[in-house]
């Protein structure tokens, strides 16, 4: 005899599934936008510059592509996060606040630390993309720590 599986979802479980499905769609859209940004900048990059080395004068992109990618960046870094904040609950919002605080502190502390280490001859001079990476990874690490501790 085949064991009967609990096939009828309670109203709460059904709502939780809808919430999870919405989050997966949100994540999927984020990945598509991120992939499009990376793909376009990689495919249409016409210069020899690199964000990592800070040689901005060698960066070159078709103006139309640049405008399109900047619009995607607005969606990816402003519109989607703001929409996401409206969808998540207080627990996840708290974790996000911890993440953003970590990113903010990483920049506030990271830049002067980098500057004095540069002055001491131990690092190359601070540059914008490096500072951005500090903020991004500071945020990411803080968020992960908050999630692991919870």
């Amino acid at each position: 005899m085949i064991l009967a599986r609990k096939s009828v979802l309670g109203p709460g479980e059904a709502r939780t599934r809808t919430r999870q499905r919405r989050q997966m769609i949100f994540l999927g859209v984020s990945v598509v936008i991120g992939g499009t940004i990376g793909g376009l900048t990689g495919a249409f990059d016409q210069g020899d510059g690199s964000l990592f080395s800070g040689d901005w004068d060698k960066l070159k992109l078709n103006p139309a592509i640049a405008v399109f990618v900047s619009a995607l960046l607005v969606i990816g870094f402003i519109a989607l996060p703001l929409r996401g904040f409206g969808q998540i609950d207080e627990f996840k919002r708290e974790n996000n606040f911890i993440g953003f605080t970590g990113g903010c502190l990483a920049v506030l502390a990271g830049f002067p630390i980098w500057a004095v280490l540069y002055a001491g001859g131990m690092l190359p001079p601070p540059h914008a993309f490096g500072i951005w990476l500090l903020g991004f990874f500071g945020m990411f690490a803080s968020y992960l720590i908050a999630r692991i501790r919870a």
């Binding site: 309670g10 709460g12 059904a14 709502r15 939780t16 919430r19 609950d89 207080e90 996840k92 919870a150």
Partner: protein, 66 residues
């Protein structure tokens, strides 16, 4: 803060996902509250109390005596 959420949920044979859906929060939020790693906001505490039809102080215990 200690609470009786897990016991109350078990009494009704609800999963964490079921309770989460009824409270309109994530399953992770329910888990964090049950394990005492997240203290719910006042609106959520009221929502929990209404769902179980109990006073807040019968569900949550902050360890203080009146």
């Amino acid at each position: 803060m200690k609470n009786r959420l897990k016991v109350l949920r078990a009494e009704r044979d609800w999963s964490q996902a079921e309770l989460a859906g009824r409270l309109d929060v994530s399953r992770q939020a329910v888990n964090a509250i049950e394990t005492g790693k997240h203290d719910p906001s006042l609106p959520l505490a009221f929502k929990i109390a209404r769902l179980f039809d109990m006073p807040i102080e019968d569900i949550f215990d902050d360890g203080e005596t009146a």
